[in-house]
Symmetry: C2
Subunit: 566 residues, 2 copies
């Protein structure tokens, strides 16, 4: 079936979705001819691992290019092991959909040739967004999406050429690069984000704030809500970053981390439908508007499983799943791609951050009748050594009780909860289904009740009339009529005072440990709004039960407690 200028299946792109499609097809149809064209020299590199190579956690770039048994994933590997042909340095420059051929240009020689296909698969990935401000052309001012971006930085860092760095953009890559700069290399690092928070499109502000505080604790200079005006080169040949209303920042290295956009040039030029997100439009079997052409990975748009709307969500994990879907459909045994929930995890210094589903903001924008609750938890019993805590925020719909999203931040094991919640979202579950969660329980791993049980319980309490407020409101000074009721033990209050306690303009604070509350109710002014706070939220809820039973009318619980403010 192979002849020099025709393959049964042709794949454009060799990083994630492309090789996965090719390898799955080769397993399904060992006799088919399959050719993959990759513009770059390298194939199937672990893009998501690049920040950890930059940081020094991963010793050599080679590790991102090899299998677990130390074989490089190069053209020979794909041919002898996986059973398909991969051609590198080969840019596909044209598609003739009528004749079912593509035009390929070999980048080293400039030679071009035609190659025919029965089915074509486009996995051209994403490219860095073009900055909305002028940027000088210099190798130390660059994005961070390709292996050579990481190699360039690492080489300079390793040889002590970078004392200061500026990261422009507080999204996934920008946030990961903070650690890469600061931890091993000790680089004095500034991160600048246009929005008022880190990770602005995937986290609500109070959860993003946990990440930002962790960055500051690690001496990152974080600047949010700030517009970059220009990145230039000064008279000494060093980069200089101009930020609106601030002094210019002199530095040695600038990362442009403004996000990526789908690489759709080829698809657009040859008339395939582009969706309103700007990415290639595909059906549930990943077929483009031309049924002989599939597309997958970071160049397509995806249905959001919760809202039904299309969104652009470039993720290596989804790209790999696309590869399987495409191969299976071509082989005639497919199941549809159900869309995405937006699950992600990110490590920022010692803090684990993650989410799945909708944030409070996106859920509101999508028309749900949104309620949110918070809680802070240990990841195993407090008595067990090495127990760590984290804060969760859950978003759900008040009418249907349907779960909509979970956000998590902390040093403890959040992955387990993100993954579990993802399966509940996959099943359109309600808060009641979450109460039926049967988790694996043993003290080295978990508590008898999982944090997700507690969240479901808190949501039920909220629906039954208990009022919960965001931990972010803890620093809200605008309500001087309110009383802060801190129900922690005196020693805890001393060790971790709430920010506003020492602030005269803040609301009045009353410290009554929970165990004394029933006997000291007469100390609290019933006519005022009472906002209860404790360490994690559990005692505040119990305190609210006591106050409500005693006839207090205006009682609020601070979700997640003081722990959520760390």
């Amino acid at each position: 079936m192979t002849d020099g200028n025709k393959s049964d299946y042709v794949i454009i792109g060799g990083v994630a979705a492309g090789p996965k499609t090719a390898a799955t097809l080769a397993r399904r149809q060992p006799r088919a001819s399959i050719t993959l064209f990759q513009k770059e020299d390298l194939l199937s590199y672990g893009t998501c691992g690049l920040p950890w190579f930059a940081s020094g956690d991963i010793t050599s770039l080679q590790e991102l290019l090899t299998t677990s048994y130390d074989i490089v994933r190069d053209a020979e590997f794909f041919e002898t092991v996986k059973g398909f042909k991969a051609v590198t340095g080969a840019e596909v420059i044209a598609i003739d959909r009528e004749r079912k051929t593509i035009q390929v240009k070999m980048l080293k020689t400039g030679e071009t040739f035609e190659h025919g296909y029965d089915k074509l698969v486009i996995t051209t990935g994403a490219v860095p967004k073009i900055p909305p401000f002028p940027v000088a052309d210099n190798p130390v001012i660059r994005s961070f999406t390709r292996p050579y971006d990481a190699v360039n930085f690492r080489k300079m860092a390793q040889t002590g050429q970078i004392e200061k760095a500026v990261i422009i953009g507080g999204g996934f890559i920008g946030s990961e690069l903070m650690g890469a700069c600061a931890e091993l290399w000790g680089i004095e690092t500034t991160l600048i984000e246009t929005e008022n928070q880190f990770l602005p499109f995937v986290l609500d502000p109070e959860i993003a704030a946990i990440a930002e505080r962790e960055a500051r604790r690690n001496d990152i200079n974080t600047i949010t809500g700030a517009m970059v005006e220009k990145v230039d080169i000064d008279n000494d040949g060093k980069p200089i970053v101009y930020v609106q209303n601030q002094d210019p920042i002199s530095t040695d290295y600038v990362f442009l981390c403004l996000g990526v956009q789908p690489n759709v040039t080829l698809a657009k030029n040859y008339g395939l439908d582009i969706g309103k997100t700007g990415a290639i439009s595909v059906n549930e079997y990943m077929q483009t508007s031309d049924p002989n052409i599939y597309a997958g990975g970071d160049c397509i748009e995806t249905k959001n499983r919760l809202t039904g709307e299309k969104f652009f969500i470039p993720m290596g994990s989804l790209a790999n799943r696309h590869g399987r879907i495409i191969a299976d459909h071509i082989a005639g045994i497919g199941q549809p791609f159900p869309g995405a929930l937006g699950a992600f995890l990110i490590k920022i210094f010692d803090m684990n951050i993650g989410a799945v589903g909708l944030s409070e903001k996106t859920a509101k924008d999508s028309g749900f009748n949104v309620a949110a609750i918070w809680g802070s938890f240990p990841d195993k019993p407090d008595y067990y050594p090495e127990s760590s805590t984290f804060t969760l925020k859950m978003v759900y719909d008040q009418n249907s009780r349907r779960l909509l999203g979970l956000q998590a931040a902390g040093k403890g094991d959040i992955c387990r909860r993100i993954d579990v919640f993802s399966v509940y979202l996959q099943n359109n579950a309600t808060i009641d289904d979450l109460l039926d969660f049967e988790h694996g329980y043993a003290p080295p791993y978990s508590e008898a009740l999982d944090p997700l049980h507690h969240l479901a319980g808190i949501a039920r309490a909220q629906l039954e009339g208990f009022e919960f407020i965001s931990p972010a409101n803890c620093t809200n000074k605008n309500n001087s009529q309110a009383i802060w009721l801190d129900v922690r033990e005196a020693g805890e209050v001393d060790a971790e005072p709430v920010l506003s306690y020492s602030d005269k303009s803040a609301p009045q604070t009353l410290v009554i440990p929970l165990k004394e509350l029933r006997s000291r109710l007469n100390e609290i002014d019933r006519s005022r709004e009472i906002t209860i706070i404790c360490r994690r939220g559990v005692r505040s809820y119990q305190a609210a039960v006591i106050l409500r039973a005693a006839g207090f009318k205006n009682v609020k619980i601070t979700g997640g407690g003081v722990q959520a403010l760390q």
Copy 2:
């Protein structure tokens, strides 16, 4: 509503389900009178934490008895914080169901009194099974279910009085105690199990074998398939354990870990229905055969969500959930208890072991058309530092493609997979649903495809005709007509030879690294059965694709590979 000898709600038992019921009721109905009677002195102790107190991981018993903010969970705590009355040292000795009263005996004074109820809740827990062999009456020969069992051992271990210990029973507690004995205290430990494997009722043999090998690596003397005949005291006053067909074992301490049975004496004596498992029979709202009497925790039997059959599954996590179900139903706002899936986790030295759902054996016994597959995986990308591996076994029904169970063992993060799989089981999911799993992905936490995606893919391959065998069969010498085809690199084979390679009576072995396989097919005898093995299973699958495409008919893949034999 309270008067001295009548409460709205009376709870018998103060460890897990009891206090949880009482606390939830007190929140739901702050004006109700609630009294809990507990036979022991201690309340709400973390039973599951006892092995970790015994081991020294937890410094003091106090930690198991206190809240996270260091307040002891005693009667005063329950009264002032949780809003119910708890009476300790109070054994309930009779129930008058007609008059709705109980008879209470104060153990210290011998005084008895009557106490009325509107609703009664029985949470009397479980008691150690009586050994089927004679046991001398001595404080160093004892079970391990109560705080004083742990205190007794710890005191002796700490003061160097225990050089040798024997654990009889390789279930949950027995397995956890191995580490408690050996790790910190350096006690020479023997574990004796009647069945041929550890954890015999919850794991299949090849997964249990991973736990047993870990125990042996940690110098535990493991004796399986052995009947204990007697535990006696020798002339020096030391315990001596007589095992059939073996030399008697002299020791300093004997743990009787033969499992627990529901404590149903009271329920039985007063005519409540007992199920065929021997535990109290309850409906989905945890009501016994008397609708005014509820029961929960380790004294009841539970519906298995997968088989619909009743089983006895004493678990602190379920007990806590029972407490909520009971309180909610009494308060008139309940949702039913759906039954259990049997999720568990256990730590054996550095090995994490867990399962959820049915084992291959129990699934077969329940009449499913069972298939099983295996795989070994890293818990994060191999290139990421601190990546650890584990082996999974998945059981599903071949007719319906429904998922039935997952077993896991290894040093890597298995908890996440057990919990996620549990939610799939809760939703009656199929292997196809598992392919739609959207996990949180970032190199510090996970690979682009989760092990569960791979398992689903392997199951599909199995249903399409690929044959997988248990890693346990790797040491099967009975098929001398077969060829072992090891497709690892030469260096890997040298570093981790398969047991049978040096054994002349074992089947013929052929080492052909995967990348050379296509070009060396002529070295393999097509008429023979070919069993392929690699490190984790991935390469064997690819090798099977190559062999089948080349017309080989009798090809088997060793699930989980050499890693599953570590």
